[in-house]
């Protein structure tokens, strides 16, 4: 911020080499963390959870009863998903998840949050005007659909089970998963139509 500060990339480089020199971090461990969130943990896991819930009523029941355990069944578990709750959209009830105080997000099922999720604009507006937020995403819901916002103010993380689109009756779990966008699991979007 101040004029005397290094450009941020150099500042981070300096900090990393200092922490390595002091023996606090191992560069291989840093690489592994980055690889994990770039290539392993991401919204495809949440999509698998949602698609399974759409086709398997028993799984859906387990997911709604204990989402932490149900997500672990498809391999989604760990950091920032220790206490997961799934909330299910219906024809007349939409859900939207936010963290107004920082940027809490269900990493185990969605990966790292997008920039807009962490932005003051979203954090400020979602709780006051969720319908306006949906407009920002080009989504318009009928006024007969109520909107429930979940502010992740403690350690519980929320996963939205979006409404299953019409015309998907014969589709396989894998096909369905491709319709489940990240935004539809945050509640700023809907699942894609086939």
């Amino acid at each position: 911020m101040s004029d005397t500060e290094l450009p941020i990339a150099l500042r981070v480089e300096a900090l990393e080499s200092l922490l390595i020199e002091k023996g606090y971090v191992d560069p291989a461990t840093l690489d592994k963390i980055i690889d994990t969130y770039e290539n392993e943990v991401g919204p495809q896991l949440g999509a698998a959870v949602v698609a399974k819930a759409w086709v398997d009523p028993a799984y859906r029941a387990r997911l709604l009863a204990d989402a932490t355990k149900a997500a672990a069944e498809v391999g989604a578990e760990g950091r920032q998903g220790e206490h997961l709750v799934a909330v299910e959209a219906t024809a007349d009830q939409h859900h939207m998840v936010v963290c107004t105080l920082c940027s809490c997000y269900p990493w185990t099922v969605l990966g790292l949050p997008p920039t807009w999720y962490k932005s003051p604009a979203y954090r400020a507006k979602a709780v006051r005007d969720p319908r306006g937020v949906l407009e920002d995403f080009g989504v318009s819901l009928p006024t007969t659909t109520s909107i429930r916002v979940w502010d992740s103010s403690a350690e519980i993380r929320y996963l939205v089970i979006p409404l299953r689109p019409e015309g998907t009756e014969g589709m396989s779990e894998a096909q369905l998963a491709r319709l489940v966008t990240r935004d539809s699991m945050i509640g700023t979007g809907l699942a894609l139509r086939p």
Partner: protein, 221 residues
């Protein structure tokens, strides 16, 4: 603390800006900031609540002008200094000047993989019965602590309904100051949009806030 981080309900930040095909990271340095935070966090002697409190304690104008990973960088620097792992002279020089304290050993790849897989559960056993039950009406207290709290300003003084009872959880307000976990019952409280934002607001919305037991008081009707 009533800080600028507590932005629920604020105006003036403009419209939300989704990004088509957003990459997971926009710059290489962001990947390192994330990784450094996760790697040092395990050995630093702090906890997730203290990390959050350190970030929200940045000067307000800095907080608002900084991107998410910039905030994480500044927060990490402050934590390292406060906890004696790094000196401000070392930060300025980018070189070790003081020997590290004993027992602060880097996590291996295997330890980190295991750590990420296990996470850091915050549920704890609580030996008192829950004070509130599902369906009960409660008021979020009007508290204005100067330290860390997870009760957003917009919910204070407002009446809502207990919707979920989550069990016992680490209490962030004390944990952030390293004053102990003092676990409490944690609830989801659902407030109507009109209760939060007044009669002119959209009557078809509600906001559910996760609240620790001492944030709440019963409401008699």
């Amino acid at each position: 603390m009533n800080g600028v981080h507590d932005m629920g309900g604020m105006h003036g930040f403009g419209t939300v800006q989704p990004e088509t095909d957003e990459p997971i990271f926009h710059e290489r340095w962001e990947t390192r900031v994330l990784a450094l935070n996760l790697a040092v966090g395990r050995i630093g002697g702090w906890n997730i609540d203290r990390s959050r409190h350190t970030r929200e304690s940045l000067p307000p104008a800095t907080y608002l002008a900084s991107s998410y990973y910039e905030i994480w960088l500044r927060g990490l620097e402050n934590l390292l200094v406060k906890h004696g792992l790094v000196g401000t002279d070392e930060l300025a020089a980018g070189k070790m000047i003081h020997l590290p304290p004993p027992g602060k050993t880097a996590m291996t790849v295997d330890q980190m993989v295991e750590g990420l897989r296990k996470g850091g559960p915050c549920n704890r056993e609580v030996h008192t019965p829950a004070m509130f039950e599902v369906g009960q009406m409660v008021r979020a207290k009007n508290i204005n602590p100067s330290g860390h709290t997870r009760l957003p300003r917009y919910a204070r003084g407002k009446i809502g309904e207990i919707e979920l009872v989550h069990g016992g959880f680490v209490f962030p307000d004390t944990n952030a100051d390293l004053e102990g976990e003092h676990p409490q019952w944690c609830y989801t409280v659902r407030f109507t949009g009109t209760e939060l934002w007044g009669p002119d607001s959209d009557p078809t919305t509600s906001v559910s806030v996760d609240c620790f037991e001492t944030y709440l008081e019963p409401v008699e009707y």
